[in-house]
Symmetry: C2
Subunit: 141 residues, 2 copies
DNA sequence: CATTTAATTAGGAATTATTCCTAATAAGGA
DNA sequence: TCCTTATTAGGAATAATTCCTAATTAAATG
């Protein structure tokens, strides 16, 4: 996801209104590496902007997903969001829930191969790995 | 997932009871290619065995997951199950919900690379691609 | 085969992430 | 500044999953 200014102007050009709620959400997503859930986003930005409702967070995330400005991954029945939209692997810690991104060049190639084999028209991919992060793995060996 | 008999004896050896409910669920999972949801499994086996409750389906799926006899993937807030437990790519049709498996040799290698880079201890992976299947894609071009 | 007992089940209630609904608000063009 | 209409807040509705408990039953034992 690009810079805040570019983003705002591009959304405005498409006829979307730039509200303080949207700015707060986008701003937070741009600077965090946490892969937050909707609820987490809501709680976090409420500290700074108390008047943001959870339903607005959901609605804004829908918009950003549609514009492909954020990507979504599902972890344990909960959606988590990320402004890193290139194809990458998400590593999910099964203990603390932390998610780390790992770049991997071959994903596009794999996607092409799968598309050819299956004859599906592929729109997006999601690569997840589950395990234990460096902090947590010592507890589970 | 192996044959029914092997499975049953291996579970029994571990002290689990072999109930008609569990047999029905395992039997169905072994023969279908549908990647059914818990609810779908429930509805399907109820035709043959009317006295199987949804909570038993959920509990049995938990057991099978723990024993790594089925794998789970999440699609649109719903878990779908598959007796195909080797690492593979799941192609999900965004129109009809059909899921197709595609084998891909390089997944293990990618997993190893990601583990090394991130220092995570990786337990399982999930590779999903979303798009339109051969039947549905003509409607969306 | 009858008895025992602990695992399993049915059924519904509780939980929880997400979506839906609507009146009130406010962004941005005129 | 005014007007139009997209957006929001807040809570109710929805739906998948988990939890709870009394009743059932698999299977070990004698």
């Amino acid at each position: 996801m690009q810079q805040l200014e570019e983003l705002v102007t591009s959304l405005r050009k498409e006829g979307f209104r730039i509200t303080p709620q949207r700015i707060a959400i986008v701003e937070y997503l741009l600077k965090t590496e946490e892969h937050p859930s909707a609820d987490h986003i809501h709680k976090t930005i409420q500290k700074k902007y108390p008047m943001v409702s959870l339903s607005t967070v959901y609605k804004t995330l829908d918009l950003l997903k549609e514009k492909k400005l954020v990507s979504e991954i599902e972890v344990e029945g909960e959606a988590r969001f990320d402004a890193h939209t290139d194809e990458h692997i998400n590593l999910v810690c099964m203990n603390c829930g932390k998610i780390e991104d790992v770049d991997e060049n071959s994903l596009k190639e794999i996607q092409n191969r799968a598309a050819k084999k299956s004859k599906y028209l592929i729109v997006k991919s999601s690569f997840e790995m589950f395990g234990y992060c460096t902090n947590c793995k010592s507890k589970f060996n």
